[in-house]
């Protein structure tokens, strides 16, 4: 095991409700002077600044191929920038060892992907409580320690309360239902930040609206910071703020100019 500073040793990171003493220092996501390139490729991301405050719900617009997934990989701590820093809840991810970054992600971040978010051989409830299997801190944050009860509560809040649904194999759920199970999983154990990567692009119009509404409600109820990434600009109105990756990323201009 690695022994660098544990992220949860930082009091500001451990308690999302604590007052933020140093401004952007304790922001949910604080990207500074970031430069990233894949090996033997021109820089893909050159982001001078991108800050998401705690509790904020931000819509990040970015067409496919704009480096969106790479940015999420950097925020998730599976990629490390060549220059600059990615601070999450006041912790610079680059200062952590790879396995500490994995633990940090498991503890403070929830992810929802475009589709096929679920482990096919686990049941609905087992999928929801999966983060608690890898992160004791997230398991500890579940009120009363009853993971199954909290999982059922989240599923209920997202409109998946029926017992019949819980007993079905996840592969038999509709895509809309699968995305809601994924949302419940991302919210289990109250991670401070939820990153959603095109979670609605596989849904039809009605399901999209319903899903977004339920997700926003639950984020508000839990005080979760939401970074919602999509190419569908029509959804932007529901968020506190809309960012465009094209505006943030100088590498794209450079690429076009060259």
């Amino acid at each position: 095991m690695n022994r660098p500073t544990r992220p949860d040793a930082d009091p500001a990171a451990a308690d999302p409700a604590a007052p933020d003493p140093s401004g952007a220092q304790g922001a949910a996501i604080d990207v500074r002077d970031l430069l990233f390139a894949y090996p033997r490729k021109p820089p893909l991301l050159d982001v001078p600044s991108m800050v998401v405050a705690r509790g904020e719900r931000v819509f990040l617009r970015g067409p496919s191929g704009s480096g969106k997934s790479t940015l999420l990989g950097l925020i998730g701590g599976v990629l490390v920038p060549q220059r600059g820093s990615v601070r999450l809840l006041g912790t610079d991810l680059a200062t952590l060892s790879p396995s500490a970054r994995d633990r940090f992600r498991g503890e403070h971040l929830g992810f929802i992907f475009q589709m096929f978010n679920l482990i096919p051989y686990l049941g609905v409830l087992e999928n929801v409580i999966l983060p608690a299997q890898f992160s004791p801190a997230r398991a500890a944050r579940v009120a009363g320690g009853d993971l199954a009860a909290e999982g059922r509560r989240l599923l209920g809040a997202l409109g998946l309360g029926s017992a019949d649904l819980l007993s079905r194999p996840v592969t038999e759920l509709s895509i809309g239902q699968q995305q809601r199970v994924a949302a419940a999983r991302a919210l289990l154990g109250r991670p401070e930040v939820l990153v959603a990567d095109e979670p609605t692009s596989a849904l039809d119009h009605d399901a999209r609206g319903q899903f977004l509404q339920l997700l926003m409600d639950e984020c508000r109820a839990q005080g979760t910071t939401l970074l919602f990434v999509s190419h569908d600009t029509s959804l932007g109105g529901l968020f506190d703020r809309v960012l465009s990756l094209a505006d943030l990323n100088r590498a794209i201009d450079a690429g076009v100019a060259a």
Binding site: S69, L72, G73, G76, V78, L79, P98, S99, D102, R103, R105, G106, E107, F111, F113, Q114, F116, N117, L118, I119, P120, Y121, L122, L130, P131, Q133, F134, S135, R138, R185
Partner: protein
């Protein structure tokens, strides 16, 4: 960590492939264990054929030849040992007892052994067990015969039945000693040794039935000696095929062996059965070593099947790995997950293989005993068996490291990207 549960659930999700992989390992393990068990049983049965005999003496030939005809009733002696020489050795002060052996005739494919009552007193097998009678008693009358268990069972003989001994060997004989029939007075308990396949009569009886025979030809009908007249004649044999010796003190064995081998009046050979048995086993044992090697390769094939199954599953599972990473799993968790899968498959396969092997042994045992006289006493798993099975699981884990490493690399390069 719940890696074990995850690995188990993942395998259950792919149960057809998993079960087939497991079955392949199980069959190969059952084969390996079965070969190992039969090999042990064969070696023990072999070493147990004769015990407590310090020397076997016969006409000079090869060590193995003498062992084969005197103990296993296979093959023929090249020459005989004269009665005088036998008496000389038997009379030595360092010799405790002797068992004379006279071979050459048969009964419906089973060898007839001429001997005396010392045979029932001193012959030992399987680490010192005595010959015991299932029914009846040793021969006392001239025309009495004692059957081995196998002979009685296969030919359906009971006490009191008459039997006719054929001149020479072979299943079908044209020259029978039908004028001097024998009566069965005893049937020995099963020993699992060649004794079971032997018809025992006295040395004198063998002399009696051969009175009419001179240099391989039978006397003309008018010149023949009938059974009752034979009783009145001198029936001490002039020679025997071989004899077994028990020493007063085993330390003296080598002295007697040298004395016999250097005996000038007659070309003799004395062998120590244990040494000769080991030598013979080394010869026969090549076959079972070959079997063992084949079985080991079958196990390797089973494990390669497992490796293939896990490797082919990797690509379709990259998504699964990315999801696990997004909820906080580290690459080492992914590595452990796949190693655990290999371990589960191998352990399950080994367990099923052991069960299959014991099941087959239990099913085949009566047949093996009846048809081949092989006593397969499976017993528990010996330390060697356990080491063998442990080595299989270890090999599986080592092989499982390959897909685990690939998945680990994929996980690092894929990150949180879900590949469809």
């Amino acid at each position: 960590m719940k890696t074990l549960t995850l690995a188990f659930r993942s395998l259950r999700n792919r149960r057809t492939t998993a079960l087939l992989t497991l079955a392949a390992i199980a069959v190969s393990v059952a084969l390996l264990l079965g070969v190992q068990k039969t090999r042990t049983a064969a070696r023990e049965g072999f070493a147990n054929t004769v015990s407590g005999v310090d020397l076997i003496v016969g006409a000079r030939s090869g060590q193995l030849n003498l062992l084969l005809y005197s103990v296993f009733r296979v093959g023929d002696a090249t020459a005989n040992v004269s009665w005088e020489t036998y008496q000389k050795v038997a009379g030595r002060s360092d010799v405790a007892w002797t068992i004379p052996l006279s071979l050459g005739d048969s009964h419906r494919g089973f060898r007839v052994l001429g001997t005396n009552l010392d045979y029932f007193r001193h012959y030992r097998f399987a680490g010192g067990r005595d010959l015991t009678f299932e029914t009846g008693k040793p021969f006392s009358d001239l025309y009495d015969a004692v059957l081995g268990a196998e002979v009685a069972q296969q030919l359906g003989y009971r006490l009191g039945d008459p039997i006719v001994i054929a001149h020479g060997l072979g299943k079908v004989s044209f020259a029978n000693h039908e004028d001097k029939p024998f009566r069965i007075v005893g049937i020995l308990a099963r020993t699992g040794t060649p004794v079971d396949r032997t018809v025992h009569v006295s040395l004198e009886a063998l002399t009696a039935i051969h009175l009419d025979w001179q240099s391989g030809m039978r006397a003309l009908p008018g010149a023949r000696v009938d059974a009752e007249t034979a009783r009145t004649m001198a029936l001490t044999p002039t020679s025997i095929t071989a004899f077994m010796v028990g020493m007063e003190n085993r330390v003296m064995t080598f002295g007697l062996q040298r004395a016999v081998n250097e005996y000038r009046q007659e070309a003799l050979l004395a062998i120590i059965p244990g040494v000769a048995l080991t030598q013979l086993w080394n010869l026969v044992g090549i076959a079972d070593t070959a079997l063992m090697i084949i079985a080991a390769f079958v196990v390797l094939a089973g494990l390669l099947g497992m490796l293939t199954a896990i490797l082919t599953s990797l690509n379709e599972r990259r998504r699964e790995m990315a999801i696990l990473r997004s909820v906080g799993a580290q690459p080492r968790h992914v590595f452990t997950l796949l190693i655990t899968e290999a371990g589960l498959l191998a352990t399950g396969g080994v367990a099923a293989g052991v069960a299959l092997c014991y099941g087959l042994i239990a099913a085949a045992r009566p047949l093996l005993e009846r048809r081949f006289g092989i006593f397969l006493e499976p017993g528990g798993l010996t330390g060697y068996d356990m080491a063998l099975l442990g080595a299989i699981i270890l090999a599986a884990l080592l092989m499982g490291a390959l897909p685990a490493w690939r998945a680990y690399r994929n996980t690092l390069s894929d990150g949180l990207t879900l590949r469809v």
